[in-house]
Symmetry: C2
Subunit: 289 residues, 2 copies
């Protein structure tokens, strides 16, 4: 590879640029984005080599295009790059939902194009922006790739190698499977945390409530401090899987309500033990990695 | 004060003993509990001066009794100490729910006794047991005291001074108000976390789900790793406030479902922004303390 174009040089795009430069020092990295100051900062920091005057100029002879913008911009970027797309150019993204991105790609990209590889690195962090970008963000992290019938094996292999050179563990699955898994382990928890804080912050005694909230509340609601725009986009993009998760979760809450109403001590203990054991087993497996 | 008796020398009871010894080096601290090994360890560590052969012997000339056992044992301990209670002896507890404890106290203690002061230090920690006990656990932490019509001002003042000498900030309110606040900011979040982990751990693909769970899930579910017995007891003790909280929360989830079904982008953004701003404002206020 000689030239890589990255749309959106924030935490993920910037950290990937840093990893690419370590693995492939000769590659030219061109950054694009809506925020001129951010691109200037990324250039000053040496995260990218340069920005470009136009999408046409950036796309010229590009080997790989990484779309690392918020999910809501992916569709427009796919449309904007299509007129300038060369057959050998591979395109990938880092969006948190994958079925919608594959649908956009099918609409925007040429019917005979085989170079699109949808992807999702599982590496968030509380900080965002290029100043938070760092080497090693993807070390030992999962990256899910969701190739479909339009994806060539060669394109898939190239994107897989790129992430592996950044230290990540690549897993392939269908977009539908990806979206169902992340609805359960990421998107639903975010909605639950937003809903709790929204509920408490709507009350007359919210000052008193927050005054007595302690470390358990702090950890539980940490994800409720996440970007509202990003989570609006993810929620809408993955709405069918999320509605199914919300149904299942409400069923759990109704079971819990029944146990409490019946003062079912053994039933409550069994539920809490099941959850506590599963959670602690999982947390121990993380520490031993 | 010359003699203090502590039932349950774990994290809270042990840390309070350490704080008392710092503030009042001459006071004799007697520890009692069901676990002989734990009491031996507490004596070896110097957390308590000694244990006692019987409750009668421990209670003899005690100025203060602190019940720092799990909530489910408080009732039995109140019954056990009542025959040995002297008029000047003050009794307090550290349970996470207060209406039930006050009801037990009224049942068990003599009708003319004015020395019971129900309390709840807001200082949990992930570790438990006397080996986790430490000086400073209560520094700048809230302690809620819930006196009622049977509590003398003198007893309240003594317990307040005790906690203040341990570095805590004492707040007084009714037991009902306490239980409503902690249902919202502590007990409900625990139930929500237990319910989520229970749901995911009940599925056929749980191994895959947990494999892709990341740091957001880790923080959100940290409280689902808490003691099942303790949370069964708290849930049952505070069931009416918790059922009200579960109702309010399910109403939030139904509103969220409606927003998603209608693909109401502005409505979702408003809800997430409200939550995110409230959460971040609160988190910043913690850091500036």
């Amino acid at each position: 590879m000689n030239k890589i174009v990255i749309f959106g040089v924030g935490l993920i795009g910037g950290s990937l640029a840093i990893a690419i430069r370590q693995a492939h020092p000769a590659v030219e990295i061109v950054g694009l984005g809506r925020d001129g100051e951010l691109l200037h900062a990324a250039t000053e920091l040496g995260v990218i080599d340069r920005t470009a005057a136009s999408i046409a100029e950036a796309m010229q002879d590009a080997d790989l295009v990484v779309i690392a913008t918020p999910v809501a911009q992916i569709r427009a970027i796919l449309q904007a790059i299509t007129p300038h797309l060369q057959a050998h150019t591979i395109v990938t993204d880092v969006g948190s939902t994958k079925s919608d991105v594959l649908a956009y790609a099918r609409q925007a990209l040429p019917a005979d194009y085989r170079g699109f590889v949808a992807g999702h690195p599982i590496a968030g962090a509380e900080k965002t922006g290029v100043t938070a970008a760092r080497d090693g963000l993807f070390h030992h992290k999962h990256v899910v790739l969701t190739p479909d019938a339009h994806t060539s094996a060669q394109a898939l292999q190239s994107v897989q190698s790129l992430w592996e050179s950044a230290g990540a563990k690549v897993v392939c699955m269908s977009a539908q499977q990806h979206d169902a898994i992340f609805a359960a382990v990421s998107h639903l928890p975010h909605l639950l945390a937003f809903a709790l804080v929204n509920e408490l912050a709507s009350r007359d005694n919210q000052v008193e409530l927050f005054r007595f909230a302690a470390s358990g509340f702090r950890d539980f609601t940490r994800i409720a401090g996440s970007s509202p725009e990003m989570w609006r986009d993810i929620t809408l993009a993955n709405r069918s899987a999320l509605l199914a998760e919300l149904d299942a979760y409400q069923k759990q809450l109704r079971q819990l309500q029944t146990l409490i109403e019946h003062q079912d001590s053994a039933g409550l203990l069994a539920m809490f033990e099941h959850a506590s054991q599963a959670r602690n087993t999982w947390a121990e497996s993380l520490q031993s990695q």
